[in-house]
């Protein structure tokens, strides 16, 4: 048995390490480890809860905005604040546009190079590339002259012998199957998507002041003042027109570039509908309230859980059933590491017991990660676009059903094909298409409110901390692009006493629990064939299909407010 180590896993956010055991050319076991820790929740203690979102947002700059939203929701829940409809609408627009932005970047810039061999683009015939492009999409940038220009650019790069970001790829790997023309098309769209994301995110600049790290959330609403007759109002008719234009362009890009590319790539890699299956348990908190955030029945994306791939039953979700293990994590619980703890009772005393760096291998039979292992009713769960789309599909969400069935028909595949590496990629693309439409709808709705003189963006009743109870605790959630995210806050004497976050990548990339149940990455890598252990492209394919975000995943808090003594590495 050989052990493969991939560290750093690149084209992700944060620091992830995968160790895998190889037996007979396939993976027989795998371990996922987060190798960075900052302690942001500990830093949050003692601060003003109204500014917790500013700090918490820095948990991640890729999933920027998501922790800010979750944090204000947690504090609003604790203090019993309902935000005005406009604030909810603006939050929905920011959140939905983050899906589109994140999913496009993920597919083209973080994941595509697992499927696309850039060097093969040189062998493509630009005329045939034109034919291919026009056969799958009406997207106008499809002439042979255009593709020749892209090819020349790649050629110049290769001839310069300075390949930049592409210098260390697994080029020529036998698992690359795309014909040269598809590679050239993908390289062209890699470049176009870079331009797209830069352009589109101006939605966040308008509504958030800047991206990354938006700066317009408030406990009680948003700071984006609205006025139909004021040139200096953050939201006025001119800005609505601008937002609508960006939203419309994004729909076209997703419909005509992203979706056709995903379908085209998938058609050449059909064996990956049978790989990377993973846990088969899926969790979604649901999100995008249409009214109160407490009214989960009216969320645009539904709340629910699916167990054992059974799409005939969607179970209700209660956050009280979430608990975290540290049996294999570099933390210590005061009453032993065998039992999990709910976040309100959560404690996290960091205790590194791994090998002293520099090291070759982790002690994977012991503790091996800075991530905890969250469980729902003691089950490991997968979270993310696939979970959301499956829960929506199984709940009878008509738009999702139409989009999913349409994609499956084009790929000549059954719904069961979704339980796979490619299934995650397809679900993400479908979700981008769905949410790109919603952005347009919600922008129109906001414009409508503006026109009718509904200008409330903030509920200031509880802004003054003197109006707060002595003690309060709250739960805030968000379906972030990468999946189910929740913050739990405990406020005492107007300050944060305790803060805890359980984030998407902790669910997906977490280690084993006390029962030895694997996390989602670990389970999904089992049985994956590896053609070349020196270049484990197949591991990247499946791990990337989850869209890892490790900065999010590692966090700490100590419910008792103790200072931690950290043991030296042995």
């Amino acid at each position: 048995m050989a052990r493969i180590v991939v560290d750093p896993v690149t084209r992700i956010e944060g620091h992830l390490r995968i160790e895998a055991e190889l037996n007979g050319g396939a993976i027989s076991d795998a371990w996922s480890s987060g190798t960075m820790f900052r302690g942001i929740e500990l830093i949050l203690r003692g601060r003003d809860p109204r500014e917790a979102w500013i700090w918490a947002q820095r948990i991640c700059g890729v999933c920027t905005t998501v922790h800010a939203l979750t944090s204000v929701r947690a504090v609003e829940d604790a203090l019993g604040i309902e935000v005005p409809e406009n604030a909810n609408l603006i939050r929905n627009i920011i959140g939905a546009s983050q899906y589109v932005q994140d999913h496009v970047i993920h597919f083209y810039h973080l994941h595509a190079l697992d499927w696309v061999d850039v060097t093969l683009a040189l062998k493509a015939d630009p005329a045939k590339t034109e034919q291919l492009a026009e056969s799958i999409s009406p997207w106008p940038k499809s002439s042979r002259t255009y593709f020749k220009g892209i090819q020349d650019r790649v050629k110049a790069l290769v001839e310069s012998k300075q390949l930049s970001l592409f210098s260390s790829g697994y080029w020529g790997h036998p698992a690359y199957h795309l014909p040269p023309e598809a590679n050239l098309l993908a390289v062209a769209h890699y470049i176009e998507a870079l331009e797209f994301q830069r352009d589109y995110i101006r939605i966040h600049a308008v509504l958030g002041g800047k991206n990354p790290h938006l700066q317009t959330y408030l406990v009680g609403g948003m700071s984006t003042a609205m006025d139909p007759n004021e040139p200096q109002a953050t939201i006025n008719p001119e800005r609505i027109t601008f937002l609508a234009e960006l939203a419309s362009k994004a729909q076209t890009f997703v419909d005509q570039v992203y979706i056709p590319d995903v379908l085209a790539v998938a058609s050449f890699y059909r064996d990956w509908f049978g790989r990377g299956e993973g846990l088969g348990n899926f969790l979604s908190y649901g999100d995008f309230p249409q009214g109160s955030v407490k009214d989960s029945a009216r969320f645009y994306l539904p709340r629910g859980a699916i167990f054992n791939r059974d799409l005939s039953k969607v179970q209700p979700v209660d956050p009280a059933n979430v608990a975290e293990y540290v049996t294999h994590s570099w933390y210590q619980y005061s009453d032993g590491d065998q039992n999990p703890k709910h976040p309100y009772q959560g404690e996290t005393n960091p205790k590194y017991t791994g090998p002293k760096p520099p090291f070759e291998n982790l002690q994977t039979d012991q503790k091996y990660s800075w991530l905890k292992a969250p469980r729902y009713q003691d089950h490991p769960m997968e979270v993310g676009p696939l979970s959301r789309m499956l829960v929506a599909y199984a709940s009878g969400h008509q738009e999702v059903k139409d989009l999913v069935n349409g994609a499956l028909a084009k790929l000549n595949a059954q719904p069961s094909a979704l339980f796979s590496t490619l299934g995650r990629i397809a679900a993400r693309a479908i979700e981008a298409q769905l949410m790109a439409r919603q952005v347009s709808k919600w922008v129109a709705e906001l414009g409508d409110k503006l026109g009718h003189g509904d200008l409330r963006v903030h509920n200031g009743e509880k802004w003054d901390p003197d109006s707060w109870p002595k003690e309060a605790q709250g739960f805030g959630f968000h379906e972030a692009p990468r999946g189910a995210l929740a913050h739990w806050v405990h406020i005492e004497d107007k300050k944060i006493k305790n803060y805890q976050a359980v984030v998407p990548t902790t669910w997906n990339a977490g280690p084993r629990d006390a029962k030895g149940q694997r996390g989602a990455y670990e389970a999904s890598l089992l049985k994956t064939p590896i053609a070349d252990p020196e270049r484990p492209l197949e591991i990247l394919r499946t791990v990337h299909s989850f869209d890892p975000c490790l900065a999010c995943a590692v966090h700490v808090v100590d419910a008792q407010g103790r200072c931690h003594s950290v043991l030296k590495a042995s």
Binding site: V5, D7, V9, T10, R11, G14, H15, T35, F37, R38, G39, L42, I43, R47, D48, E51, R58, C60, V62, D152, R153, A156, Q162, L163, S164, L165, F166, S167, S168, Y170, R202, H204, A205, L207, G208, G209, K210, N211, H213, G221, S223, T224, A225, P231, Q232, A233, T234, P357, P358, F359, E360, W370, L455, G460, R535, P536, A551, V556, K568, A569
Partner: protein, 372 residues
Amino acid sequence: MFPSNQTFTRALQQKGINRRRFIKFCTAMTATLALPPRYVAQVAAALEKARKPVLVWLQFQDCAGNSESILRSSHPSVLEVVLDLFSWEYHELVMAGAGHQAEAALERVVREEKGKFLAVVEGAVPLADDGVYCTVGGRTALDIARHVCPNAAATIAAGACAWDGGLVRAHPNPTGAVGISEAVPEANVINLGGCPQNPANTAAVLVHYLTFGQLPAMDQYHRPLFAYGRIIHDQCERRAHYDAGRFVQEWGDEGHRKGWCLYKMGCKGPEATFNCPSVRWNDGTSWPVKAGHGCLACASHRFWDVRSPFYERLPQVPGFGADVTAGEIGMGVTAAVAGATIVHGIASAIRDRMRTQPEAVPPQASNQPPKA
């Protein structure tokens, strides 16, 4: 003005850049750097060199917000920065290679480009407990930083965490985090504070380096003057409202809708230096104050501990005609003008009362954050 020979044109075409776009870019860069127009030719000449300088981007205790920010660079576009101007050979967030192939790429740069390459650092470096809080490829961040940064021609600290430890270093600093110049004192560092750094400034520093082979003029914190030499309050589009005593009193009130001054809502602009109001963000679209929220002073030293609580009004504000430089703010010489400001603040409050309904009780955060 421009070298217009055949070779130059061909070189541009090979890079896939047409001449008009290239000149436009050089002009924009020259302007951002506040250089006289005659330098456009020099910028252009530097950019057409056959061999591109090599750059590596290291991520330590980070959130990748600075990496994302550079992806939003619009002039030059991220593609121009990454493919045309530099050979960007190591950057975990976006590089093709992974695992030991990625590590080998970094090793090769340190070995073969010693003293010539640029390093960008994002994120803090944890020093506590032998650095176990951040490892890449089984090595600690400190180990990697000590290996790479002193061998680079220059190291760019991108964002607050790489500059001074940022949020990771905020009280109680659980991991003993510091910025790169504290972790590796022998490195030649330029600090681009901000949370995140603004890609317009980072791109301008890179182009300055390409053009002149050295870093631009810097202040006492090793920040480039062109980006950090002016107080935000002095460049703010809401400044006229401050001078006229028109303040937002409550979120969403009439003043808020009309774009009045956010000083009473906790804005730190009067004590912060950055070119945020002029270059703005995301292709010049907006910046936080335009979007209705106060400035956090995110480009100031140790701003997380020093500038929070973020909703508490600054106790003393320079301005109202007082000519205070960024350097003086940095040295804490604000007291000299404080008296005048307090008078101004009171006067404007009285004016507000006379003009409108009784003033709402201003929000006062009653808790002080723990200081490091």
